[in-house]
Each structure stands twice: as C-alpha cells, then as structure tokens.
Amino acid sequence: MSDIEVPVLQDYVPTPELHVGAMAGLKPFKASPEHQAALGFPGTLVDDWKDVAIRRLGELVEGSRALRVYLDSCVKCGACTDKCHYFLGTADPRNMPVARQDLLRKVYRRYYTWAGRLFPWLVGATDLTEQVLDDWYSYYHQCSQCRRCSVYCPFGIDTAEVSMAAREILDSVGVGQKYCNEILGKVHKIGNNLGLPEPALRNTLEGLEEDVKEATGVDIRFPVDVVGAEVLLITPSADFFAEPHIDGLIGYAKVFHQAGISWTVSSQASEAANFAMFIGSREQMQKVAQRVRDAAIALKVKRIVIGECGHAWRVAYAFWSTLIGPLDFLDPRYPRPQHICELTEGLIARGALKLDPSANDDKVVTFHDSCNVARATRMGDRPGGQFTVPRSVIRSVCAHFVDMDPATIGDRTFCCGGGGGLLTDDLMELRVKGALPRLQALNTVVQDKKVTHMAAICAICKTQFSKVLPYYGLPREMVVSVHQLVGDAIVLGAKE
C-alpha cells in the first residue's frame, strides 16, 4: 500500500503537467498459454506477429464502421485530453484519450492509408515494432473503456472501441491479459467469473437463506434453477459472496419476496458479467451471452432481470438484441431485459413495497453513476432514466440524499478506476490513481454535506471502491449497493 504515490485530495482535480512515460512500465500480468488456448488464442507471441497484427487490424476496420470512422476523423483538437481519469491521476500523456487512440491510429495510417504509406513522418504514422506492441499492451490496459472522452468529442470518437480492437489484436498475436482471459475461461468451464461450481453456489445461497432468516425471522428464498419461475435473475457472481455486494443480493431477494414475484438464478448462467466485451471479442461475447438465453429458455421464465452490474447491463441492454436476440419468448409487458432498479422503482411507484426510510436515517447517501450504465444504457422509458431511476429508488428508501458535483455525475460521471477488465491487483497503482477524480468529488460532499455512504449499481465499482478508498483515508464501508439500502428499508411481512 505504501509504495504507491497516492494523490492528495484537493478542492478540485488539477490538470497535471505532462509526465511522459510515467506509466509506460505498468503492465498487467500476461495470460498463460493455457488461458489463451481456452479462448482459441495463440499461447505465446506468434513468429509472424507483425503480419498477423496488421492483418487483424485490417479485418477489424473492415468489420466496424465505428473503428474506421474514428481512425480517420480525429482532428487532434484536444477536447478529450483532460477528460480521462487515468490521465488526471497519472499525468502520463499517453493516457490522454487521443494519445491512446493514436497508438493504434499511427499504425493504421502507416499500413492502410496513402498519406501514412508515402509520408509517415508528416502525418505521424509509424511502423509496427516491438516497442509499439509493448506500448499497446501497457496503455490499452490503462483504459477502462468508460467512454467519458466520447461524450466531449465533437465527432463522438469512442476510445473504448479503439481499446477493444487493440486488445483483440493483442490476443490474436498471443499476448493476452491474464485477468480477463482466465476469467472468461472460468465462465465457459464453470459458469461464472469466480469459478464457483453449482454445489458451492447452492451451498452459499442456502447459507444466505439461514443468515437472513436469523436476522429477520422471515423465510426469504434464494432459489437456484427453479423451472417455471417468473423471473430469471442474472447478477454478477460477486453478489453471491463479496462485500458489500451480497447485501445488494439480499435486497433483491427481499424485493422479490415482498412483491410476490417468483424468481430464480441459473447455475448454468450464474454470472451477469461478460468480460468478452473488455477484450473486444464479439465471438466470445456472443458465446457468453448465449448461456443466458439458453438458461432462460430451459427454465421457462417470463422475464430476465439484470442485477447491479454496469457492463453486464450494457451488454444486456445494448448488445443482446444483436448477439442473442430477439428475446421475444419473454413476457412482452416488460422491457426485455429489465434492470433490477427498474423493477424496484416500478414496485415502489405502485405502492407494492412497504418501506421504512428511517432504517437508513443514520446515512447521508450519494450515488455513483457507473460508466457503462450512464453512457451506454437507459432505464425506464425516457432518455436519462439511467440517472433518475436509481436515484428515485434511493430517495424512496433513504431520507438523506445528495448528489456530487454535477460535472462528475450523469453522463459526465467519472469511472471508479477499475472498470474495463482492470480490476486486478497487478494494476493497483493505476486503480488507485485513476480513482482520484471520483474520490475528489466524493470527498467534497463528505466534507461539505456530511455524506457517509456512496451507493453504486456495479460490482466492479463496489469492489474497486472498497479497495481504493483506504488509500485516500476514506473508510471502505462507505460503499453500499443500492439494493442494500432498499433491503434495509423494506418492512417484511407487511404484504397487502
């Protein structure tokens, strides 16, 4: 903990002086040949890696209008340069979104454009060298694909698309990232990111039933593989055991219980996360998503509800229709899929839950908009519902709610610092420094508005904050699930 130079929280986040190469040495662990093989990628750097990488880049550009337009269109205006939390936290100019894109763009220009072939020095085009490959591995694993930069870009250039493509190229030449690829292997083999096999999952949930019974005196069920249930809950596996995630899971269960909605989790698809998005592999992403469709059909459920997980909600909301859609076998009276916050908000609006907000009177709560929820999805039926729905749920169960600086919430929200497949200890320095802008805004409301808790609806955010808050002298217990607040405020047994 001590060997990381933790930034000092001030009244604002200063735009740092450039420190070229500050983070060049930081690289996540590489995937082992076994992890690579499980996903169909070469185990180690292939001999003709240069040709393979250039060919793969061409294929990706052919297959993605976004990538093609974005590699052509940047005018280097600089609007994005002070928007990335990793740049603000590390001062390394290659963590400026445009500079990160340029690592790939300069190679694209060299091999795929006339200007770059004829006058590389003029247009900043370069050959693909080992140094470039090395930079790709460093800096494309210092992007959490949060898309904050794309909000401010006059052309909507989305660095996440570039970073996903770069990781896909790296995988194709045999240089994968251990964290993401090992986890994807577990999903394929066992069904979830944690590698929690079915008996262990059942055991965990049975234990949870006992705990909740002990705490509340009420029999609240955590069902697994119940055929014919109304709802299939797809939630991040961290919800099954990690703190503070598990209190969110208890919250969902109490909501289902009180509303009288039968539900189940699936042992086959016991994971909402889809890390294939992070590595840019559409094929893997489809495979991981297909488990959910298969499970929903096998369990004959009417609805799919997604738990508190940011990128999972993006994949479900924005990509499922392409990957595994249409979900027309589900009940058309509900959004397909539906977010747990939408479900809870609807129940509260109809008065179907009896709530006692005084249970949360000891808290002053703020809300962290998770990047994927904020900038890639919606909740409810109006644009911006992804911001209003969770806040509405929190306000219903909690009397004291304040927002952080408007420039750091909504679609301008800062990433927690651990998204996009970077939630690994080997990137701890990056995670601590990247959390700076969010924690500066949090610290300000802690000081000025006496905020005690920050609620989140993303498993990655919750884990990341729990880990990095202590570096900044803030208590890790500040982070709570939105559905923990809900669960604590629900009056059980008070059904109409």
């Binding site: 209008r65 052309f155 609807g346």
Partner: protein, 259 residues
Amino acid sequence: MSAWTLAYAVLLYVAFVVLVGGVVYRVAIYAMTPAPLRIPTMPAPRTKRGVALRMGREVALFASLFRGDKWAWIWSYLFHASLLLVLLQHLRYVFVPVPAWVVYESPFGSYAAFVLLISLAGLLGRRLMIARVRFVSAPSDYLMLVLLLLIATTGAWMRFAAPVDIVGFKAFMQGVMALDLKPLPASPVIMIHVASVGALMLVFPFSKLLHAPGVFFSPTRNQADTSRLEAQAEGSVAAADAQQRDPGTAAPALREGVR
C-alpha cells in the same frame, strides 16, 4: 495561352476530381462498413427525428465540443462559420449572373476573412501553447493550419490591400468550368491563393479533413436508442385496465408497474 494558365487549369481539374471522387469513395466505404453493435453515447434520442436533431446540434453548433473545451469551441466555431461565409462569397466566380443573395452575402463574406484569420491564429496558438495539444500534434496538423492561413492571408490581401484583376480571374474560372480556357491573370498572389486551395482540395480525402463527412457516420452520434425490446404499449394499457377493474386481485406482476 500561357503555360501557367494550363498548369492551373489542370491543377483545378485534378483537385476537383480527387476531392469529389475521394470523398465519395470514402463515404461509400463508411456506408458499406457494418456497424453490428449499438453504441450510441447515452442518453440518446429514441427516434430518427431525435437523431437528426442531435446530429444537427453537432454539425451546426458543435454541441459536444462546447461541453468539452470552451476555447477550442470558440476558435473552431469562428473558423468554420467564417469559412462558410467566405466560401459563399466565392460563388460569384461560379455563377453568371451572380445571384442576388450572393451579392447581399458578399460584404459578410469579405469581412469574415478577418475572423477567419483570427480564428486560425487562435487554433494555431493553442496547438503550440497547450502542452497536451502539442503532444498529440503531428507536422501535418500544423501544416494544415499554415496552408489555411496562407489561403486566408492571400485572399484578404487581394480583397482589401492590393486588388487584383478579378474580372480576368472570373473569366479564367468560367473558362475552366466551360472547358474553354481563358488566360489566368498574371498575379503572384492569385497564383499562391489558387495553388494553396488546390493543395487543400488534394489532401482532403487523405487527411483528418475527413472529419467533415465522418461525423455523419459516427455510430455514437447517429444511432438511436432502440436496441432493447421495450414493453409493448397495448400490454401496459391492458395491465392498467386490469388493475382499475379489480385492484385487489391484480397479479403481483401487474401491481409492480408494467411499463
């Protein structure tokens, strides 16, 4: 007919073909490249009309840039707006007779040259002075601004400081368009002005100037928020009806609020 006249006519023909052909080719490629996944930056409009409005705000007002960087917005907005006025003013070399609205626009188009010069200086200044922008600038980024400054300076020079034979130049332009060449007035300033415009046209389809057509094809901005299968309207009506008839026996699913 002088060699200069021939050379400049050829330059304009080639530049025109490269500009139009190059941009059409590029746009065709953009249009044909698949965009399988829905990636609009949210909150995004839910209808085509909403997308058109969003794109209109981007193209006409540079809405995202305004949120991102006020100084960059000021310089680039002034640059693009004054360039547009100046270009409209130049339509007098294209149309015979000159349409009335071009005549009325003419003073605006003339004086916009000064705004053009100031904004280009602003853009160049921030590229040189802001370390973050300097870090991401290639030689071509500076040269592009220098080229535009050259075009604007020579143009303003001819308009306000040292008038040239614009009647003769118009005859040359008409000749070029009619494929019946007339002599190019022997003025070095005209020659520099036209040559640099030709150069800009030539580099357009091979450079970052592709941002102009590119923005219309940007999936984060031109996709509607329609990827989810939403609850069907008749479903929610039926649900609301059911509850109104008999709130007590409405199924839990209906009570919770079908959207």
